[in-house]
Structure formats: C-alpha cells, structure tokens
C-alpha cells in the first residue's frame, strides 16, 4: 500500500482523509510494515464504504485487513438506525463465521501419551472437508426452530450444556431472527450440513498455552501455561452462504429504487428501514443462529471424542466470537449515545471491562478476543479494552489474513510434505485433502504475531496468552 496517501496520527494509527463523496474518514490500525503489505484496494474499498448513506464517525481497517468484496476483510463500519444502510456484502458470505475456545481441564503431560489417538478420534468423529455430511438431518419445522434458537436450540436438543450459553455472544441466541426470510434453497443447502466443520480456513485445533502476558486476566479466563485448549473455527455453512448470495442479488436489483449508486456491485445494500433491509436482517440473524448452533454441535462432537479416550477431560467453553455480522449496538458518537448497525467483516467484537453484555465472569476484566492463527504458527487470546469503544466501536482483528493466493501456495507447497514437516515439529495435521492443506500452508498467511502486536499496541485489545497447535483437523 502507498502510505503517502495516509496521514500518520501515531505509530499504529493512519488516516485516509474524507474527500467527496466520502462522508467520513478511513482509519487504519496497523504497523507501517503491515500497511506496506496491504493491497491499495483496501483504501479504495474503505473510500467506497465511507461514501454510503448513514455511516458515522469513520470506516475502520483492522491490522489484518485485506482486499475483500466491496468491504475490506478486517473492516468495521457503523450506520445510523434511522437513515443508514445494511449491506449483505458488508457482512460477507460466511455469516457469523467465528471461533470458540474450550479448556479441556488437561495439561500437555496428560495429553502426551494419547495425542496420536486423539487426533485420529477427532478426525473420524468430526465431519470435515468437501461433501462431508453430518449425522443430524433437520426436518423443516426443526430447522426453523434451530434458526430461531441458535446454540440454545442445540443445548435443548442435547448438544452441550446450559452453562455453555453464557459464554457465547448474545447468550447463544440472536434475537430478531426471521426463518421465513431464509429461502428454501438456503434451507436445503443446510439439510446435511449441521455439525460439519467445512473446508478452507476452517479447523478444529487442540492447542497448548505456551505463554501468558497478563496473568490476572488469564486467571479470570481460567488459562495457564501448559494447559490444553480446543479451538473451533467454523461458520453458518451452506445456509449462510446462500443467504448472502440471495440477498446480494436482491439488494443489487433494489438499489436503484432507493437511489443508491453502487460504486461496486459487492457494496450491495439497502436502507435499514426498507423491506429489503429488514428482510435481510431477519435472514442474517437466522444465519447467525445457524453458525452458533453449528459450533455448539461441533463442540458436542469434540467432547464425545475426548470422553472416549480421555475420560478425565472436561471441556469447558471459555468464549465464542463471531466475525462476519451486522449488529444493532449503542455507541457514543460525538459524546451522544446512538443506535447503530455495526458491520464487522472479518473483525471481532471486543467489549471492554464493565460492558453490560458481558457474562459475570468477565465483567471486571473485559471480553475474551480469540484470534485464530494457522496450523503451523500460533493463536492468541486477547481481552477487550476500555479504549476500543472510541477507537473502533469496540472491535479488533480476527486472524492472520492471507498474504498469498491459493494458486501461489499450491505452486510452493505439497500437502503431504507439509503434514510431515509439521509432524516433525509436534503438530499432527489430519485432513481429507492434501491439496487443501497446501493451499492453507502457514507460509501463505501473514505473521499472526505481527497482527496481534499491532492490535495490542493500537489499544484495540490487549494480549493475554499465546497458544500453539498440537493437533489440527482441517476441512
């Protein structure tokens, strides 16, 4: 990225000035090194988003931002409830794709003798990869109940525990879902996909805590060096993808009726207070519930695999965060509280201490912010800060972000060799697809540590612990 187009406000804060038709400036949080790696298209996309009606304060790019569709991935933008827009492209294809992390109650020593067996057990028990089918097939009434109930529905059906729910955003159930706004095609796409991991960058990892940066917060989250955790990265599966496809098309067709000139078709949006806007919000919330239910079922499957081999294990949910959402929240704008639809596309909500939406366990310290890395590097747990409210509507980064295309990655790596090399370093990778592993090679991603350090230095969230992979189940 050409940084001469930006105004540097501090070491980790850069401004793209608001020039017409931009209504607000763009603010990027990143080190100069990370900015140099970013594509110029990120700035173009930020300028387009900043020109949409009803946007307030600024459009933000997180340290892991990269060129997306319409909105940059790693982008945050908030729109007024009364005269703003909601954008299907601003949420993205994999609605509510996210990460949850569980504590296993085990240490690395407990796991060591059974590590290979556990890798095999998880691989066999958790459906992953293209064309994989879950064991749960939902009839239409039950599917609608899932879309209304989210993880709460899953727990009622025996997938998990009641206490899991308070450790999930929205307490496991997104209000305002309207299953009737989800097309029959989207529902059909989900028929066999409940409780499947998916493919691409989705994974289930068993990890060890290798470093703690903030002992008192780590204590509140219940993690210490040597502990074994499980992280699950997955989303709303076929249903969410189809909702994004259906409403992207519908918003493009409706745009001219609302006088919306789209600089890019992927910016497809509709006024929040319109038929299309309200229908999308109802369908998107249903897709959020689908993702929450899916991660809840995957958790249940992981618990079953652990129980069989390591009966001492007790998988307790630490927290569950979603990355691709638009949520109605109240934030201070020019000192006044305003109700806003905050779009986070490839960004994590990161609530600071004292926020009323946090469960009691985290009220004093802030929200766990879970950052997934790649199968060969590290993941991080951070915590929300008081400052991020003013800096980014309480948002932080979401992962490493790709540095290289899949095509380039395929030229550079062979899946089987990668699995062997990682195995020699103590990371057992199990995947149905060697090509999929090559496309997801750790070297194809940015340095997650640089991303997390920038988020920490910019005050978006603060580092708590570093996790390194022991077992990785890839789709």
């Amino acid at each position: 990225m050409d940084t001469t187009r930006l105004m540097q406000k501090s070491e980790f804060e850069w401004w793209l000035e608001a020039t017409p038709p931009m209504r607000v400036p763009g603010i990027l949080y990143a080190s100069e090194a990370l900015l140099r790696e970013m594509d110029d298209k990120v700035l173009e996309q930020m300028a387009n988003v900043a020109s949409l009606p009803g946007i307030v304060q600024a459009v933000y790019a997180m340290p892991d931002a990269h060129w997306g569709y319409g909105f940059p991935i790693g982008g945050v933008a908030a729109f007024r409830e009364d005269d703003g827009v909601v954008s299907a492209g601003g949420v993205g294809f994999d609605i509510s794709c996210g990460v949850r992390t569980l504590h296993t109650g085990l240490t690395v020593e407990d796991l060591a003798p059974l590590k290979a067996d556990l890798a095999q057990g998880l691989f066999r028990h958790v459906p992953a990869g293209v064309g994989s089918v879950g064991k749960i097939h939902l009839e239409p009434d039950e599917l609608d109940a899932m879309l209304q109930g989210g993880a709460e529905w899953a727990v009622k059906r025996g997938y998990g525990r009641r206490e899991d729910l308070e450790r999930i955003e929205e307490h496991g159930r997104m209000e305002g879902a309207r299953p009737e706004m989800v097309s029959e095609q989207a529902k059909r796409r989900q028929a066999d996909e409940m409780g499947t991991l998916g493919s691409g960058n989705h994974y289930l990892e068993v990890q060890q805590v290798t470093e703690v940066y903030d002992p008192s917060v780590a204590d509140a989250f219940g993690v210490a060096v040597g502990d074994v955790l499980v992280s699950i990265h997955s989303g709303s599966r076929g249903l969410g993808h189809q909702v994004a496809t259906d409403y992207g098309r519908r918003m493009i067709e409706a745009a001219h009726r609302y006088g919306l000139e789209l600089a890019d078709l992927e910016l497809a949006c509709a006024p929040i207070q319109s038929e299309e806007g309200q229908a999308y919000l109802g369908a998107m919330r249903a897709a959020i519930n689908c993702a929450l239910a899916n991660r809840q079922i995957l958790t249940h499957l992981a618990r079953e695999a652990f129980a069989y081999l390591l009966p001492r294990a007790d998988l307790r949910l630490i927290y569950d965060v979603s990355h691709n959402t638009a949520k109605l929240e109240t934030h201070l704008v020019n000192g006044q509280p305003q109700r806003l639809y905050v779009h986070r596309k490839g960004a994590t909500r990161a609530l600071g201490p004292g926020h009323p939406d946090l469960p009691d366990a985290f009220r004093a310290v802030g929200q766990p912010v879970l950052i997934g890395g790649t199968m060969g590097t590290a993941s991080y747990i951070l915590v929300g800060t008081p400052e991020s409210e003013a800096r980014s509507f309480s948002s932080s980064c979401h992962g490493a972000g790709r540095a290289m295309s899949r095509h380039q990655a395929l030229k550079q790596w062979r899946g089987r060799e990668l699995v062997k090399q990682l195995g020699e370093r103590g990371v057992i990778v199990r995947s149905p697809s060697p090509r999929g592993v090559a496309e997801e090679a750790p070297g194809a991603y940015k340095d997650v540590t640089a991303v997390v350090d920038a988020a920490h230095a910019a005050g978006l969230s603060r580092k708590v612990a570093r996790l390194e992979p022991l077992i990785c189940i890839k789709g």
């Binding site: 569709y69 089918v133 095609q185 493009i252 295309s405 095509h407 697809s433």
Partner: protein, 148 residues
C-alpha cells in the same frame, strides 16, 4: 487448459480465487468458466460424466447472468454432493422485458474424497472482478472471483 471450444484459467485474488472462461461464443465461455469453477475444487478431468442435471436461470444483464449461473452450480454441487466435469450451455437473447435466460446441462458424479481429493468448497460466486466482454480476437471472456 484448452478444449475444442475455448479454455479456462484461474486468476489470483489474495483471499480467494478468480475463475475465467474464454470461448468463441458466449455459450462456450460460460461452459469454460464452469470448468474453472470445478477446478477450484478438483481436477475436472477426474470427474466422470455419469449423471446429468438441468439448470435454468435468468438475469437482467449478462454479467449478472454469469454470477447466477455459477451460484446455481455451487448450489447443485452443495445439495447433491456432486462435482461436474462437462457442461452444455445455451444463453437466450433478451426477451421483450430485457431478461436473459440460460438453459444448461451439467454432467458429473457424486463426490468421492479418495479419487477427487477435493481441496475446498466454494461458498459462492461474487461480483468482484466481474467481467463479460470480447477480447481483441473476438472471443468472449467471462470472469469473476469465487469465495472459498
């Protein structure tokens, strides 16, 4: 990646994959881009054409028709757990209301993880880098980015 009636290729996109079909006719270019879509998942030559699926869709613009066509294929792949390796496409000219329609047949088989080694599932076709145009040689070039 050449066949008798055109060729397909992928183009780079940082997070995802661009699919491009090139052919002497619009129909041929739409067939080629469908092969490029399959190639995101597996080698199209490994897919046996043993089962046919009929697909129809329409749109107000030819570029939107391309996205709809690819999204219909994504849907058929996902719900039938199939991959497709051969396509026959016919795009009808706009009707009086300006609507273009597409009728196609796609041949393929159920996904076999052992034999197809599928790399990744496609979530949907996007409007990014969306283009339908003729190149200087007079061939149709159709392309967009697909989200994986």
């Amino acid at each position: 990646m050449t066949t008798q009636l055109g060729r397909w290729e992928h183009f780079d996109h940082q997070a995802d994959v661009g699919v491009r079909g090139i052919g002497p006719t619009l129909d041929a270019a739409f067939e080629q881009v469908a092969l490029a879509l399959t190639a995101v998942v597996t080698d199209p030559a490994r897919v046996r054409p043993i089962q046919a699926v009929e697909i129809e869709c329409e749109a107000s613009r030819v570029s939107l028709l391309l996205v709809n066509w690819l999204n219909r294929l994504v849907y058929e792949m996902a719900t039938r757990h199939m991959l497709f390796g051969r396509f026959e496409v016919h795009v009808s000219p706009p009707d009086l209301g300006g609507t273009l329609s597409l009728y196609a047949r796609a041949w393929g088989e159920p996904v076999d993880p052992e034999r197809h080694q599928p790399a990744v599932e496609v979530k949907g076709a996007t409007y990014s880098e969306l283009e339908v145009a003729k190149n200087p040689a007079g061939h149709w070039v159709v392309q967009c980015v697909v989200d994986v």
